[in-house]
């Protein structure tokens, strides 16, 4: 691989970005749910060339024990980049950056989860970056929240995230790798879409007050769009698991009262032929 050089411009004379996007345009995003069989919940995200897998296990017993929280579940996030995820081989040892992003992702997801429902347990979130092309921490949050929902963990809302940055003096949404490296700033944002509460807000580079406020608004709008994609991916995953022959009309005929699922009246035991030995 030839050494990377700074491109002559990040915004073309026609007013488009390096990959031909407009300023407020996201890269194509592809979300998928339930991609890993052994995990309790999983999701993958493709955002441009970025490709990330997220796996959720739990709630389960927490080891080591001393990390146990008496009143709620412990959310343990691990963000890792594969050695082959970047052009120069990434060292396999966990880096300071990976630890930071692990923490940041956990903090971004925690406000959305009802962790108090599972005291003394752990919910493990493993995030593996297969291919990195900018915006991995935001894509990680988007994918991880989808995996958490897939695992059946109660939550207030899905958490979409996106980065807004500045290149050649223009505010741009969803930075690619080069825009991130050679641009003038970067603001990753994660929100709870309904209330627009921020769960992640970081910044590097310089922004004026006006620029920053505009960047926030652009980020929130983009997040809301990603949220729609998340909801769609989740519904799609479960609709697909329904076999054919269970079309809508049938359900209409059946009516609510015929629904066999009755949690209250369920008895979990059969009659045994022989008597209890004891």
């Amino acid at each position: 691989m030839s050494p990377e050089t700074r491109p002559d411009f990040l915004i073309t004379p026609e007013g488009l970005r390096l990959d031909g996007r407009r300023f407020d345009e996201l890269r194509p995003i592809e979300l998928q749910c339930g991609v890993l069989k052994t995990a309790d919940g999983s999701a993958s995200i493709r955002q441009g060339k970025t490709y990330i897998l997220a796996a959720v296990y739990g709630p389960r017993e927490l080891h080591p024990r001393h990390l146990t929280l008496g009143d709620r579940a412990f959310l343990r996030c691990v963000y890792r980049m594969a050695t082959f995820s970047v052009p120069d081989r990434k060292k396999a040892a966990p880096s300071r950056r990976e630890r930071e992003i692990s923490m940041v992702v956990a903090n971004a997801l925690e406000p959305a989860l009802f962790l108090e429902e599972f005291p003394k347990t752990v919910i493990d979130v493993f995030i593996q970056v297969i291919q990195a092309d900018g915006g991995t921490r935001c894509a990680s949050i988007t994918a991880a929240s989808l995996a958490l929902a897939d695992a059946g963990i109660p939550m207030r809302s899905l958490v979409p995230a996106v980065a807004v940055g500045k290149a050649d003096g223009k505010l741009i949404v969803d930075l690619g790798d080069e825009e991130d490296k050679y641009g003038q700033g970067d603001v990753p944002i994660a929100i709870l879409p309904r209330t627009e509460e921020l769960t992640l807000l970081q910044q590097d580079g310089y922004f004026t007050r006006e620029e920053f406020l505009e960047a926030m608004q652009m980020g929130i709008n983009a997040c809301k769009y990603i949220h729609e994609l998340q909801k769609d991916a989740l519904k799609r995953a479960y609709a697909k698991r329904a076999p054919e022959g269970s079309d809508e009309e049938e359900e209409e005929d059946e009516g609510g009262s015929e629904y066999e699922d009755n949690l209250e009246a369920d008895i979990g035991e059969s009659d045994y032929d022989e008597e209890d030995e004891r």
Binding site: A149, G256, L263
Partner: protein
């Protein structure tokens, strides 16, 4: 504006607005101060009376008092057994709740590590438990048959409305089963093909749990398969008789 914002048994996602106004939030939902009810899970939304709930499609086993569970003994500690009932919480079973007094000091004589039991959850809250009890009919050490593990979220569907599904399977296959709320099913069948068929039926329910008319489809599948089974067995019997006749003639 009061009302319901979902179709009957619609697949809903976390954060989706379900109802507003005089409705009550129950399992799988949460309500905000403004009285709006949102889903907390991916699942099927349901309205019963004026309570809104979401039946989950995934999730680990969280014990509830009164649950019938099937567990494996992992430890014998004094006069307690530690029991793995799946999920994040390990259960305890005190000897007083399992044995008739007087009992031997070494309770591993009665049940030891690796034994599989059926029991009831008697207490579980945020601070302690879960604790099990084996006092009552149907709670015992399971010594024969097999254990099948399914997702605990699918158990209500496997049991069916007032046991309709499980009773149908039992009647058709003439097997003994016990379905634990923790996603474990004990099956004892008269022969291996029947056992395999039972496993197939349970797996099918697990896979298609959120679809309608499932009882009918399972019924059809089992009818067809049992006919095949009887057919092959019948053929085998017929062959054997021919063989024995040949031997006789020789």
């Amino acid at each position: 504006m009061a009302g319901i914002f979902f179709q009957k048994r619609e697949i809903v996602v976390p954060g989706q607005l379900l109802a507003e106004g005089r409705y009550r939030a129950t399992t799988g939902t949460y309500s905000e101060a403004d009285g709006k009810i949102y889903s907390a899970l991916v699942g099927l939304a349901e309205l019963r009376g004026n309570t809104v709930k979401v039946v989950p499609l995934e999730g680990v086993y969280i014990p509830r008092e009164g649950d019938f569970v099937i567990g494996t003994i992992t430890q014998v500690a004094g006069n307690n057994w530690k029991v793995d009932i799946g999920g994040p919480y390990e259960a305890s079973l005190h000897a007083n709740n399992a044995l008739r007094r007087p009992y031997d000091e070494d309770i591993s004589h009665y049940m030891d590590i690796g034994d599989v039991i059926s029991a009831e959850v008697i207490t579980f809250d945020r601070n302690s438990g879960p604790f099990l009890s084996m006092k009552g009919r149907g709670f015992r050490k399971l010594t024969e048959g097999m254990i099948l593990e399914v997702s605990p979220a699918k158990i209500p569907r496997i049991i069916g409305r007032r046991g309709s599904m499980i009773n149908m399977i039992k009647d058709l296959l003439h097997i003994q089963t016990a379905v634990g709320q923790n996603g474990r099913i004990w099956i004892r069948a008269p022969d291996i093909p029947t056992q395999r068929l039972a496993v197939k039926a349970f797996k099918m329910i697990e896979e298609q749990a959120h679809t309608s008319k499932l009882t009918d489809r399972i019924n059809v599948m089992l009818q067809e398969e049992t006919v095949k089974l009887k057919g092959s067995q019948g053929a085998r019997v017929a062959n054997e008789t021919i063989d024995s006749e040949k031997e006789d003639s020789n």
